[in-house]
Amino acid sequence: MDDTATTTTATIVLADDEQFIAIAYKDGLERAGYTVIVAQDGDETLKRVSEALPDLVLLDLIMPKMNGFEVLKSLKADEALAAIPVMVLSNLGQPTDEAEARSYGAVDFIVKSDISLKDLLIRIEQVLAAV
């Protein structure tokens, strides 16, 4: 994993209200070379994305203040932010959730509990490569 640490400089906004998960992802992503900005609720996510204009948003669905679906709709409705790819990273795993997220413009949908950090990094690379 350390091999990839120097290959990227992309910025990621990580939206997750679960503190431990956010710390783990932030650590893992930073070690892989990404710049990570954490947001802990829906409102903060919109604010951080507007400020940082990141290369990617990793978005949880169940969050305080504004849920992930609402955040996704707001991002895609904003011309300045609509092009930023959003990967949903949630512990909701029903196909209906995935279908809804994709219908609002999510490029990928991942169930957090079912994916290793290693596989998540591969999926992130794939999304960034496709932009």
């Binding site: 994993m1 350390d2 679960e18 431990f20 998960i21 783990a24 992802y25 650590d27 893992g28 070690r31 512990n91 909701l92 795993g93 029903q94 196909p95 209906t96 959730d97 995935e98 279908a99 169930v111 957090k112 509990s113 079912d114 290793s116 950090l117 290693k118 596989d119």
Partner: protein, 450 residues
């Protein structure tokens, strides 16, 4: 013969006219003979004999009359007793039927309602007077509990002479509300063996359904809540094992590998519970996407490989090159994961687990072959039942929810696939899973999303 008709056929008391006629004739003949011979004493003797005959005739007639009267009275009493008993039996039968807590619907052989007890009225709000004599299809409505479609096959089968039980039945009450009921139906067979109709019993199971729903919703909620801490644990352990926070010694690595495997196992269990609850609540949705099965299988094999290595098992998967197919990635992953976990769990150390994936003429077939303990004959009929675990499996591994194979079968049943196996006890088992070439069949969740 009814009591009334028996009564009308009551024999009349004989009048004894024959005795009287004979006596009179004998007396007349004697009187004529004696008058002719002119002997007075002979006349007296003749008259006495005639009188005797008359007295004897009277005596015999009286005896006969009494005997007949006694017989008739006894028959009358017996008839009255029978009638009283029949009336008492009928009111007892009526009381029993009325007191049965289950609704009882009795139909004659043409399907007309001939019985609708009090519990049936209480449950449905339908009045017996309104439906007796009408064909059941016009009188009462049974529907499929989830779809609301008419559900009367079990009545038709029973009227055709078959014993039948139906699941997921609801009764439409007089106010239009759907009442879930447990139904049992049986043909009415007379002494001669001829069928006279059908008896349908039904019981309100609203309360049971509410409890099941509450239980499944709890499992669903608990499973979601458990996923978050498990995710955090797994991520931190993964980073430790990747030496991201310093190099581990062999013992530390061994312990952390065990923590990681346990965490994955707990995540699998949560997913099994969650999907079981989705299936039970009819919330499981199959939404196929275009994916490469071989990539999915390869990724799962690699994730699970440490588990095989811990047991010193050879885990083999030769990744084929296949076209993309429409499949639900989460559900297919769960199928592969459950089959692999079982194969590893029930194969003793030093054995092999071989995974193959190929395109056949009727679908994409996954085979998971192990050199494990096999499935005993006694367990084969129950193997795909929820929570079932074979005795030899329990002896070898105390862990295991008994949900893995149940879920595999249910998911494949719902999505147009199939699962089967070959096994030899003590030598191993091969499970086969096939999904159609056209992909997994889409299915919408009947009860909506979570």
């Amino acid at each position: 013969m009814t009591a009334a008709s028996r009564q009308s056929a009551k024999p009349q008391v004989p009048t004894g006219w024959l005795g009287w006629v004979l006596g009179l004739v004998a007396a007349g003949v004697l009187a004529l003979v004696l008058t002719e011979h002119g002997s007075r004493s002979h006349l007296i003797i003749g008259l006495s004999v005639a009188g005797g005959i008359l007295l004897l005739a009277y005596f015999l007639e009286t005896q006969l009359r009494h005997r007949v009267l006694r017989q008739v009275t006894a028959a009358d009493r017996a008839l009255a007793r029978e009638r009283d008993e029949a009336v008492a039996q009928k009111s007892k039968d009526d009381a029993i039927l009325s007191s049965i807590a289950d609704g009882v619907l009795g139909l004659d052989e043409s399907g007309r309602v001939m019985l609708f007890n009090r519990a049936a009225t209480d449950l449905s709000g339908l009045k017996a007077g309104d439906i007796l004599g009408r064909h059941y299809s016009e009188a009462i409505r049974f529907v499929h509990e989830k779809s609301g479609r008419p559900h009367t096959g079990f009545i038709e089968h029973t009227l055709a002479g078959e014993q039948d039980e139906a699941a997921n039945v609801a009764l439409i009450a007089a106010d239009g509300k759907e009442v879930p009921v447990a139904v049992s139906a049986a043909p009415i067979i007379g002494r001669s063996g001829k069928q006279h109709g059908a008896i349908i019993t039904f019981r309100n199971v609203t309360h049971e359904r509410q409890l099941e729903q509450a239980k499944d919703e709890f499992v669903s909620l608990a499973s979601h809540q458990l996923r978050a801490p498990l995710t955090a644990m797994r991520l931190f352990v993964e980073m430790l094992l990747d030496n991201q926070v310093g190099k581990l010694n062999a013992k530390q690595r061994d312990y952390l590998t065990k923590v990681e495997l346990s965490t994955w196992r707990m995540i699998d269990l949560v997913n099994d519970f969650l999907n079981t609850s989705r299936i039970e609540l009819d919330r499981l949705k199959v939404d196929p996407q275009e994916i490469h099965l071989e990539e999915l299988v390869a990724s799962i094999v690699e994730t699970i490989r440490p588990l095989a290595e811990q047991k010193n098992l050879a885990l083999v998967f030769d990744k084929p090159k296949l076209p993309s197919v429409y499949a639900e990635p989460n559900l297919y992953s769960q199928i592969v994961n459950n089959l692999l976990t079982n194969a590893i769990r029930y194969t003793p150390a030093g054995g092999t687990v071989v995974v193959t994936l190929a395109r056949h003429k009727d679908g994409y077939q996954l085979d998971v072959a192990d050199s494990g303990i096999g499935i005993p004959k006694s367990a084969q009929a129950e193997l795909f039942k929820r929570f079932y675990r074979a005795d030899n499996a329990k002896r070898l591994e105390s862990e295991g929810s008994g949900l893995g194979l149940y879920l595999i079968k249910r998911i494949l049943d719902l999505s147009g696939g199939r699962v089967w196996y070959e096994t030899a006890e003590g030598h191993g088992t091969t499970f086969h899973v096939i999904i159609p070439l056209s992909g997994m069949v889409a299915k919408t969740a009947v009860n909506g999303a979570e």
